[in-house]
C-alpha cells in the first residue's frame, strides 16, 4: 500500500487515535468485567459454604466431604508454607544468577546461561511434577530428609518420618519453577542501575563485591522485591506440580517432611466429582480465598515494579 499524503494522514490519524483509544478502553473494561463476573459467580456458588461457616470457613481446619464440614485453613497453610519455602530457596539463587548475568559473568557465557534459565520457564508444570515425583522425592526420602533430620532434628521443622512427599518437596519444586521469573526480572532491573553508580563506587576504591553490595543492590532493591512478588504469585497458583508431590493430606503440620495440601491442588482434585451444593460451595470458597491471595500479591508486585520504573527514569 502506498503511504497516504501527510495532511490526510494527520486528520485520519486523529479519528484513528480516537477509535484506537475507544477500542483499548473497551478491552480494558472487558478485563474488569470478566474479573468481576468471576468473583460474583464464585461468590454465588460459594454461598452454601459461606452461609454455613461464615468466617469459620477460613479458620476451621477440618475438611470432611462425607460429613459436610469444610475448613480452608489446612490449604491456606499449605499454600503459604510451600510458597515460603520456594521463596527462601529461590530468591538467593535467582539474585545470584541475575548478578552473574548482568554484573559478573563472562560476556560470552551470559547469553547461554540466560537462554537456559528462560528454557526452565517453558517446561510445562506437569513435567516438573513427574520429575519431582520420580527424581526429587526419592532423593529427599533416601538422602536429604534423613540427613536434615539428624542434623537439625531438634527443630520441629525437620522432624518426622522421611517419606519424601510433603511441603519440602513441593517447596523445592516451586523454587525451581519460579527461579526463571525472579532471575530474569531481577537481571532486567539490575540493567537499569546507572553505570555511573558502579563506576563511582569502584573509583572510590570499592571491590567488585562492595560495589554490588553498597551501590547496585540498594538501588535495585524495590525492583528485586517486585520480581520476588511476581515469583510468589506464580508459586501461589501452581497446581499440577504441587499436587503431584505434596502428598494431598489436608492437615497442618509443623514439620516440612509431613504431607500437606494446597488451595489450587484441592480445587483441581475434588471439583470434577464434588457431590452436593455444599461441597461445590466450599471449593468455590477456596477459589475465592486463592483469588484474594493472588490479587493482593499481584497488586503489590505491580505497584513495586511501577515504583522502581519511576525511580529509574528519575535517576537517568
Amino acid at each position: 500500500m502506498a503511504p497516504p499524503r501527510p495532511p490526510r494522514a494527520a486528520a485520519g490519524g486523529h479519528a484513528g487515535d480516537r477509535l484506537f483509544a475507544a477500542v483499548l478502553t473497551a478491552l480494558g473494561g472487558a478485563v474488569l468485567l470478566v474479573v468481576g463476573v468471576v468473583v460474583l459467580e464464585l461468590y454465588r456458588v460459594a454461598q452454601p459454604a459461606l452461609a454455613k461457616g461464615g468466617l469459620r470457613f477460613l479458620l476451621d481446619r477440618d475438611w470432611d466431604p462425607v460429613l459436610g464440614s469444610f475448613g480452608a485453613l489446612p490449604f491456606v497453610y499449605g499454600t503459604l508454607v510451600t510458597s515460603g519455602v520456594a521463596l527462601l530457596v529461590a530468591v538467593p539463587v535467582s539474585v545470584g544468577l541475575a548478578l552473574f548475568l548482568s554484573e559478573m559473568g563472562p560476556p560470552r557465557l551470559r547469553p547461554i546461561v540466560s537462554f537456559l534459565i528462560e528454557t526452565l520457564a517453558a517446561i510445562p508444570s506437569v513435567v516438573y511434577g513427574l520429575w519431582g515425583l520420580f527424581v526429587v522425592v526419592p532423593l529427599l526420602r533416601d538422602h536429604v530428609e534423613p540427613a536434615l533430620g539428624r542434623a537439625l532434628g531438634f527443630l520441629p521443622l525437620f522432624r518426622g518420618a522421611p517419606i519424601g512427599l510433603g511441603y519440602l518437596a513441593a517447596g523445592l519444586l516451586l523454587a525451581i519453577m519460579i527461579l526463571p521469573t525472579i532471575s530474569s526480572v531481577t537481571s532486567e532491573v539490575l540493567k537499569t542501575v546507572p553505570s555511573s553508580l558502579r563506576e563511582g563506587a569502584l573509583a572510590l576504591g570499592a571491590t567488585r563485591w562492595e560495589a554490588i553490595r553498597l551501590a547496585v543492590l540498594p538501588y535495585a532493591r524495590p525492583g528485586i522485591l517486585g520480581a520476588v512478588l511476581l515469583g510468589l504469585g506464580r508459586a501461589l497458583g501452581e497446581t499440577m506440580a504441587v499436587t503431584m508431590v505434596i502428598g494431598n493430606a489436608p492437615e497442618i503440620s509443623a514439620s516440612l517432611f509431613a504431607p500437606g495440601y494446597s488451595l489450587p491442588a484441592v480445587i483441581a482434585n475434588e471439583f470434577a466429582e464434588a457431590s452436593g451444593a455444599l461441597h461445590l460451595g466450599a471449593l468455590a470458597g477456596l477459589a475465592l480465598v486463592l483469588f484474594g491471595l493472588a490479587l493482593v500479591m499481584n497488586s503489590a508486585a505491580r505497584l513495586l515494579v511501577r515504583l522502581v520504573a519511576r525511580g529509574g527514569r528519575a535517576a537517568a
Binding site: L133, A161, I163, N248, E273
Partner: protein, 345 residues
C-alpha cells in the same frame, strides 16, 4: 471480502445441513472409568448402523449426572448410582448397568501373594497398622516373611468412583471405618498420602517401599501390578479377576432400579469390592429418532457388547441381570409409546 465470508458461511451451513440429513448424533457425558469400552462400543455399533454417531465426553461421573439432569446430553454415565437427592432432581431417569468394575489393593513389599481380611484392610487404611510385620498381617499370611518396614498408605486425592466403591466396602465391613470416615467420592482419610488418578496411586506405590494403595482392576491388570487377595463374605480368599467380579453381581438381589451396592457380596467366588457402572437414560424419550436409536443401542450393548468387555478388562454382566435388563429396556417409551425391539432380538 464480505462476499467471500458470506460464501464461506453458506458453505458451512450447507455442510452442517447435509450432515444432519443422513446421520444422527447421540451425545453423552460422564464416567471416565468405562470410557475405553464405550468408545469401542460406539465405533463397533457405528459399523453396524453407519447413520448413527456417538459423541461421548468422559468428564467424570459427577459431570455426567449434572448433564443428564439438565438434559443437555442424550445419556449420562456414572460409576455410582444416583443418590435419592440427585434422583429427585431428575425424575424418570433409568439406570442401565453396562459392565462391572472392581477395586484391587496393590502393594510394594516383598510378599508374593498378600492375603487380607476385611478387618486388617480397614485397620491398615485407618492407620492402626503401621508396620508390615504387624501380628494382624502375619495372622492373615501364615508362613509369609513380612518385613519390618513402615506401611505407607496411598489413596486417591481426586474425587472418584473408585474411592466411592472402596470406602463403601470399608464402611460395610468395619464399624470403626463407618463411624470415623464413612463412604464417598472424596473422604477425610485418617492416614496416608493422596495421589491423583489410578496412575498417580500406581506411581507412588511402585516407588515407595512398603506402600499399599487401591486402583481399578482394569488398570492393575493392564499394568501387571501386585494385587492382594481379599477374604469375601463367605470366608474365602479371592484373587481379583473378571470372573470373580461378575460373580459378585450374581450374588446380589438386583432391585428394579438397579441402584444397588454389590460390595461384600455373597457367593463363594465373589470378589468383595465390585460395582456396576451405569448409563443413565430417561424412561420416556422425547426425540423419536434418537430415543429409538438409543434403546436399540442399549439392547445391543447388554447383549453383543458384553463379548467385547473382557478383552478390555471389564467384567461382563451376569445372565440374570441381562434378563432383568431386557424387561427394563422393553419398558422404555419414546413419546409415550414402547419401542419395538423385534429387530434387535
Amino acid at each position: 471480502m464480505m462476499k467471500t465470508l458470506r460464501l464461506a458461511a453458506l458453505l458451512a451451513l450447507a455442510a452442517l445441513g447435509s450432515a444432519r440429513a443422513d446421520s444422527l448424533l447421540i451425545t453423552g457425558a460422564g464416567a471416565t472409568f468405562p470410557f475405553p469400552l464405550y468408545s469401542k462400543w460406539f465405533s463397533d455399533y457405528n459399523k453396524l448402523k453407519p447413520e448413527l454417531r456417538f459423541n461421548y465426553q468422559s468428564i467424570g461421573s459427577g459431570g455426567g449426572i449434572q448433564q443428564i439432569t439438565a438434559r443437555t446430553v442424550d445419556f449420562g454415565a456414572s460409576d455410582a448410582p444416583l443418590t435419592d437427592e440427585e434422583l429427585a432432581k431428575a425424575p424418570g431417569l433409568q439406570h442401565v448397568p453396562t459392565v462391572l468394575g472392581a477395586v484391587v489393593v496393590t502393594y510394594q513389599a516383598p510378599v508374593a501373594d498378600l492375603r487380607l481380611t476385611p478387618e486388617t484392610l480397614a485397620a491398615l487404611f485407618l492407620g492402626e497398622i503401621t508396620r508390615w510385620n504387624d501380628p494382624r498381617l502375619a495372622k492373615d499370611n501364615p508362613g509369609a516373611k513380612l518385613p519390618d518396614v513402615p506401611v505407607t498408605i496411598v489413596h486417591r486425592s481426586d474425587g472418584s468412583g473408585t474411592t466411592a466403591i472402596f470406602t463403601d466396602y470399608l464402611a460395610k465391613v468395619s464399624p470403626a471405618w463407618k463411624s470415623k470416615v464413612g463412604a464417598g467420592k472424596s473422604v477425610k482419610w485418617p492416614a496416608g498420602l493422596g495421589a491423583k488418578g489410578n496412575e498417580g496411586v500406581t506411581g507412588l506405590v511402585k516407588q515407595t517401599p512398603g506402600a499399599l494403595g487401591y486402583v481399578e482392576l482394569a488398570y492393575a491388570t493392564q499394568n501387571k501390578l501386585a494385587m492382594a487377595s481379599l477374604k469375601n463374605h463367605d470366608g474365602h480368599f479371592v484373587r481379583p479377576s473378571l470372573a470373580a467380579t461378575s460373580a459378585a453381581a450374581a450374588g446380589v438381589d438386583v432391585p428394579p432400579d438397579y441402584r444397588v451396592s454389590i460390595t461384600d457380596a455373597r457367593g463363594a467366588d465373589a470378589y468383595p469390592i465390585a460395582s456396576f457402572t451405569y448409563l443413565l437414560v430417561y424412561r420416556d424419550q422425547q426425540d423419536k429418532a434418537k430415543g429409538e436409536a438409543l434403546v436399540h443401542f442399549l439392547w445391543w450393548a447388554v447383549h453383543d457388547g458384553q463379548h467385547t468387555a473382557p478383552g478390555l478388562d471389564y467384567a461382563p454382566l451376569p445372565k440374570p441381570v441381562v434378563a432383568q435388563l431386557e424387561k427394563t429396556l422393553a419398558s422404555i417409551t419414546v413419546q409415550g409409546k414402547p419401542v419395538s425391539l423385534a429387530t434387535s432380538r
